[in-house]
């Protein structure tokens, strides 16, 4: 019995262990790695990835997937830039408009998935092409954003120590993570997401609001993507239609490394935070190393992901305990019969 309880936390513990391992290795090998600044930079550089990852965690916990996130970030960035630069709109209403649009976009995808029983993989693939196309429709080139209010937003923050400054986007990242942790552990919405991912048919029969929850998850996810798009435009001070190509895969990697099962029903927003930080840490590591090409980041992430998937495969078969073990035998028979 005791083992089982621990088993549930193994992916999370493994993630934390890997984080400290890389952190320790970096600190040991490179002077300056172990500093508050490097640590805070992790939160700044990965703020937009992290914000999306929180939304994605809910999506994956409920047993779905979202491939549109990278395109939505690009679209939002270009939209803000166009509105502010070409139409002279004040950034504040532009930001609000983007958030609403993002939420509506997510909501629409959620509705398609729920009401027409379409696989989220396909619906969000459509969303991915659509958002990317719309971004190009607005502009083919990168548009720099120059606006006082925008700069004020970037400069907002507080001085942690004499040398370390915590900017608004890092604060926003942490706030979103805290919100995610709260939603996932302490609200019915969050628990329903787990239930749907655990067994959708049962969730329906238990009388849980399955449709509403699913649509809400995608709405939240869409809004967070838009927020990430805004953070990205604050981070780069521009909008670029080709930005963040393939970001969805990085985000999914971070979520999975954070201990969330792709099959749904199991996962932690806390883990996702660490997953995102691990990706950032690998990047930092390679920057510090200096001679390795940045593609090594991808290789490292690939290897790590592989190890985590193996770990999860092993655990999820040990998970459902008695049932799962019995089924494996049946699977062998099934395979032979096929």
């Amino acid at each position: 019995m005791k083992i089982r309880l621990n088993q549930k936390n193994i992916p999370l513990l493994a993630t934390i262990a890997v984080f400290f391992l890389i952190y320790a290795a970096g600190s040991f090998l490179y002077p300056g790695f172990f500093s508050l600044r490097v640590f805070v930079n992790l939160f700044i550089d990965n703020a937009f990835v992290g914000i999306i990852a929180v939304g994605m965690t809910f999506v994956i916990i409920s047993g779905e997937i979202d491939l549109s996130v990278g395109s939505v970030v690009a679209f939002v960035g270009v939209l803000i830039a166009t509105l502010v630069q070409d139409y002279n709109m004040h950034p504040l209403p532009a930001i609000l408009l983007c958030l609403v649009l993002g939420a509506a976009f997510g909501c629409a995808m959620g509705c398609l998935i729920h009401f027409f029983k379409l696989p989220s993989f396909l619906v969000t693939l459509v969303g991915m092409f659509l958002a990317r196309g719309l971004a190009f429709l607005l502009s083919l080139n990168s548009i720099p954003i120059k606006h006082d209010f925008f700069e004020a937003l970037t400069d907002f923050g507080f001085q942690l120590t004499r040398k370390v400054w915590i900017p608004s986007i890092a604060i926003l990242f942490v706030a979103v993570v805290l919100l995610g942790v709260f939603l996932s552990h302490f609200t019915r919405f969050g628990r329903n997401a787990y239930a749907i991912g655990g067994n959708q048919q049962s969730a329906i029969l238990m009388g849980l609001p399955v449709g509403k929850t699913k649509i809400l998850i995608f709405t939240l996810d869409g809004a967070l993507c838009a927020l990430a798009g805004i953070v990205y435009s604050l981070y780069t001070m521009s909008g670029y239609p080709l930005a963040c190509v393939g970001l969805e895969l990085d985000v999914i990697a971070a979520v999975v490394i954070g201990g969330t099962l792709l099959t749904g029903g199991v996962g932690y927003v806390e883990g996702t935070l660490i997953g995102v930080l691990i990706l950032g840490l690998i990047q930092t590591f390679i920057t510090f190393q200096g001679t390795l090409s940045s593609w090594w980041t991808k290789i490292a992430v690939g290897v790590l992901l592989f190890v985590f998937i193996l770990l999860q495969r092993y655990l999820s078969s040990a998970y459902s305990g008695r049932e799962a073990r019995g089924r494996d035998g049946k699977k062998a028979a099934q395979a032979e019969a096929a």
Partner: protein
């Protein structure tokens, strides 16, 4: 006496699935403070009626009244809101969430806008004690046996302040003691004026607890009778649509149980044990013999089945198959030795819902003959037809998806699969779970028939009557220890009960 006011009324209800008229013009009335048994063969339409009431299925015609006012639930979400609480036939819980959470999902206690986990766990522990269950409610539901899962699902339904409680085969994997406790709770709810709909295939339980019986057959209403005016035989007749004589005749074959102690010993087990599962035990099963396993819930019956099939590894002891020592390291190994296991939990271990009835039945046989010797379509058809007929599986065609069959018919398909694979040694763990009286006798007959042809069978069932009818010998388990073995002559209810009830010291 129950009062006369009806809380739930269903009139002329119809529901059609592609190829099946599941309900045709059915009436049903539930009164306040009444326990109403809904009876019928497998596939009669009981679960469908329930699912239409709770809004999982849309009705095709007819009307439903709650307190005399028409109502219709659009989804199972709404049913609890209007006071209808339901336990569906298959255990429907979220496997990786905790027991406590499963009980309160959707209505968790809140404090300052956040779920109050402490209260939730405490309330859950209390709620589950009402059924005399003492388990750690913070563990995931999947770590418990199917019987406990069923009790958790019941606890969830009982905890809603409902006016109508619907229980679809809640006792299918409970033993006598658990059932008795559930009935105590139901009687209490009844005295509080709650209307209860109760589905079961155990006739004894119907007469124990219910006031009124509604019988369905092939989706049609056969009749409504109060329990006092409907003797058992008449009830069976109503359900099966055959005269009682015919039914009697079906059950007679079971008289001469598979008894072949003199035959060659197929399996011998010495001191086999596994910590936390079963204390070391000895056992022998002969060719052509049916060995029954009796014992209460959690006494270690399923654990023995799993050890013998190599699902769990034994930590000590030796196993001899036909005199030669064998090591059961995996189910595959066991299958290669000619073993087969029909598992207890059909939903997660047995049925492949998206495959057809035919595919599900020939699955094990095909696996045994190997992929390179495919069964010819004709042979497959022959086997499948034979079992559909023999077990009276209600399906529109052999090519129907198993997932669309009624619960009992799914169970029949699984049993058919293992009987058809014709193993040397067949382990049946609760094979008649959720199966109606008529088909039960058929299955018992088939088992006896196969054993007479030389198959060794280990027969596990919570139903004593069944064990007594089928077995040539009975091993009795208590608290994960094998406490007795009764030879053919000594098999009767009182002896088995005595063996189960013995106290540790004796």
């Amino acid at each position: 006496m129950p009062t006369t006011d009806a809380i739930l009324e269903v009139r002329g209800l119809s529901k059609t699935f592609p190829g099946v008229k599941a309900l045709q013009d059915v009436d049903f009335t539930l009164k306040k403070g009444e326990i109403h048994a809904l009876m019928g063969q497998n596939g009669a339409g009981k679960s469908t009626l329930i699912k239409v009431i709770t809004g999982l299925y849309k009705k095709d015609g007819g009307e439903m009244l709650l307190d005399g006012k028409p109502f219709e639930c659009d989804s199972p979400e709404e049913a609890p809101k209007i006071g209808i609480s339901t336990v569906y036939q298959e255990v429907n819980l979220i496997p990786n969430l905790s027991v406590a959470e499963n009980i309160y999902l959707g209505r968790q206690p809140m404090r300052f806008g956040a779920i109050d986990w402490k209260t939730l766990n405490r309330n859950a522990a209390e709620a589950i004690k009402k059924l005399d269950l003492d388990i750690d409610v913070t563990q995931p539901v999947s770590s418990y046996s199917i019987a406990i899962q069923q009790l958790v699902a019941i606890t969830r339904a009982l905890d809603v302040k409902a006016r109508i409680l619907i229980l679809d085969e809640p006792t299918s994997s409970l033993d006598a003691a658990e059932t008795a406790r559930l009935f105590d709770v139901l009687r209490k709810l009844k005295s509080e004026g709650i209307g209860i709909v109760f589905v079961t295939h155990f006739l004894g339980q119907v007469y124990d607890i219910s006031d009124v019986i509604t019988v369905l057959r092939n989706g049609r209403l056969v009749g409504v009778k109060s329990v006092d005016e409907l003797p058992r035989l008449a009830l069976i007749e109503m359900m099966l649509g055959k005269s009682a004589d015919e039914v009697e005749c079906v059950e007679k074959g079971a008289g001469e149980a598979g008894d072949a102690v003199d035959a060659e010993c197929f399996l011998r087990v010495q001191g086999l044990g596994r910590r936390g599962a079963i204390r070391p035990f000895d056992m022998e099963i002969h060719k052509g013999e049916v060995l029954g396993l009796a014992g209460l819930l959690g006494s270690g019956r399923t654990e023995i089945a799993r050890l013998l099939f190599g699902v769990d590894k034994a930590q000590e002891g030796r196993i001899f198959v036909k005199g030669q020592e064998a090591r059961l390291t995996s189910p595959r190994k066991a299958i290669s030795l000619g073993f087969a296991l029909c598992p207890e939990d059909r939903k997660s271990e047995g049925i492949i819902a998206d495959l057809t009835v035919r595919e599900n039945i020939v699955l094990a046989l095909q696996a045994r003959t190997g992929i390179f010797r495919r069964l010819s379509p004709k042979k497959q058809e022959e086997i499948v037809d034979r079992y559909i007929k023999a077990l009276d599986i209600k399906t529109s065609s052999p090519e129907q998806k198993v997932g669309d069959l009624s619960g009992g018919n799914q169970q029949k398909v699984i049993v058919a699969r293992w009987l058809a694979s014709n193993p040397d040694f067949l382990i049946l763990d609760e094979p008649t779970r959720g199966i109606d009286v008529g088909a039960k006798a058929e299955i018992e007959n088939l088992i006896l028939h196969l054993s007479r042809e030389g198959m060794a069978v280990l027969f596990i069932s919570s139903e004593l009557a069944e064990v007594i009818e089928c077995s040539g010998r009975v091993a009795v388990l208590r608290d994960r220890v094998k406490v007795a073995e009764l030879p053919r002559e000594a098999i009767n209810e009182s002896n088995i009960m005595k063996a189960i009830a013995q106290t540790e010291g004796q």
